[in-house]
Point group: C2
Chain length 433, copies 2
Amino acid sequence: MTAHASQTETSVNQIDDVVAYMAGLGQAARVAATQMRRAVTGDKNRALLAMAEHLQRRRSEILEANAADLARGRASGLEAALLDRLALNDARIDAMIEGLEQVAALPDPVGEIEGLRYRPSGIQVGQMRVPLGVIGIIYESRPNVTMEAASLCLKSGNASILRGGSEARDSNAAIAACIRDGLRDAGLPETAVQVVATTDRAAVGQLIAMPEYVDVIIPRGGKSLIERISREARVPVIKHLDGVCHVYIDATADPEKALAIAVNAKTHRYGTCNTMETLLVDAPVAEALLPRLAQAYAAHGVELRGCERSRAILDDIAAASEEDWYAEYLAPVLAVRVVDGMEAAIEHIERYGSHHTDAIVTEDYGLARRFMAEVDSSSVMVNASTRFADGFEYGLGAEIGISTDKLHARGPVGLEGLTTRKYVVLGDGQVRQ
Amino acid sequence: MTAHASQTETSVNQIDDVVAYMAGLGQAARVAATQMRRAVTGDKNRALLAMAEHLQRRRSEILEANAADLARGRASGLEAALLDRLALNDARIDAMIEGLEQVAALPDPVGEIEGLRYRPSGIQVGQMRVPLGVIGIIYESRPNVTMEAASLCLKSGNASILRGGSEARDSNAAIAACIRDGLRDAGLPETAVQVVATTDRAAVGQLIAMPEYVDVIIPRGGKSLIERISREARVPVIKHLDGVCHVYIDATADPEKALAIAVNAKTHRYGTCNTMETLLVDAPVAEALLPRLAQAYAAHGVELRGCERSRAILDDIAAASEEDWYAEYLAPVLAVRVVDGMEAAIEHIERYGSHHTDAIVTEDYGLARRFMAEVDSSSVMVNASTRFADGFEYGLGAEIGISTDKLHARGPVGLEGLTTRKYVVLGDGQVRQ
């Protein structure tokens, strides 16, 4: 274990009273939020670029801290996938630096006034975009989330309290030092971003139960973490649950587009929430399309599980059970169903889907228009791969996560989702009659 | 008691299993929400105008039902203010009819697509405004809220479940009949608006605990009702708590504007949430302004409670205690404090206010600009009376309430606050590289 890690160890052990410690972070964040609300764009950008410089300069320190986390992880039998997420290297630090530069280059959403109009009374009324206040982020093993979350909360004028996974504690402490120094360089309060320094699990319970200090919680991680936090939180939560995404190929689809989209939506990446999990094929084209699709999937090693009608066409695939229609595989497995037209497809999506991202492939104008209006998902697509449901692809410039909630933010959440709007009224002495 | 009221009585008594009854309403609402999402603007407007016609035609029936409620209320010793809220008359029915016509005339927010732009990949991405789904509204004695809530939820494409006060049950049942018939006339599902037909208090507990059927709860009523619902709800709540509103008169204010605004903000109406409760006066102008203000307030019978410095100028007013700075009087009482400049005023507002509506009176450009940016309230005003914080004055055309929450909707909530936005993606076969 390195000297750096030992230091962190000490500070971790010093926190005996987690409730008091978290309340202290909360109070400091509330004060910082007031100052951050007033922070000008230039200072926020200077802080982001200074953080990037600190990352650059302290590369070896960060990699050493990360090595300590990895060693501890290996010793405690952490599985390979988690170790991979935990690992930092030069490329990942480069990506963090690039991320900071990108966020600095994004337009500042704070202060933008929309719809300022004169009213009959003579007052002007508009809505000004303002920070939410204090944001709590709870995440798991990836230490680069620390910098990502810090940068987005900072740019949107919020104070933040970040609680990463205990397995990444030394890496997070090293990154936290870069954040702190960057804030100081730009003359912003160091408490504008606070990384929780205890690995005590009670810290999470406290963070989600301080409505007086925290305005919103954003959990990032596995479904069970998010469900638990949503259930127990006493502050609003912006969350992401399932991604059971569908592609529906209508009889009016261009077959080549249908094939390209259906293959890309499944095989581009398996573990992402916007990956297609169920393919719905309109009956009149099933016989022509399913064998070609099956061949393409076989080439990618994707296992198919089908309904009776699709198995009548593809006789060597397994039968899908009722559970398969609900499944978020996050793996090279795909459920396939033959349906009778768009109405039946929408019914299936409504019943089994998770309202995340659903696509239709069609050349029919009326069907495209109806599918867009009637499918109640955070992203609804016509003739495009579900894999496009992403903050960068949508042009948000950054993404703190994808919300499957309906209120406040729905779909990919960028800087705007970390703000809210207040009304501003400009008058010249007007009174209400 | 009228024949109509007896009928309602019977149906009320028939509901033995409140849990099953509420689940039934929830299921029906979920189905109706799917149909309402597709409802075209013309049908929604036709339903609203048909409801207005039914109100017109069944005026005497409604007034009879209301008379039964009033008789029961008087017999059970309901206080005068509540009886006044409960009472319907021709003027109030006229207002309900006019309200329906106004909502029918409002633009339909559903389906509006904002920001549709081409991305480098060739897809077009925009955000489409869509209904929230199922909205539960819980309110107290005023039966006209039934029609108001029904019309706003309907126009915004939502299904709704309305739970009024038990003291208004016959009036609400009569209004519910007009709603149902109006929906049927327009060919919309009758379950698009459901008025809870039991006065059992357990119905509220059920309504706020069915996330599978209800997307959002909007409570309207006293603070204790709203606090209880927020605490116990298992679905998101859009709520209104306190309105501790401030007017700050800076030394740079035009004295005549300051007087007009300070008097109007307090005396235009006492019981409303946007009424000023604390007046902050900048020290250099306190001596000149306070006596003139005191005279104007005295003419309106407003009692003043002041800080030490204001009492040194107005020697006959009572001393304000610490509690007075937090108080939402909703009465002809005003707390008055002399402060040293805008910073001190903002500190006071931050510490004691409720983030509802706060105003500055100043002729100084820089102060106005800073006050707008730095005060974290749902409405921030320059040189205008706080009484303008209202959906109609802001041009929303209608108002379901004023939100003091930060997420989703902040300030007056109109049709737009009852909708959310999903992403729509238009492609031509694009796949992710």
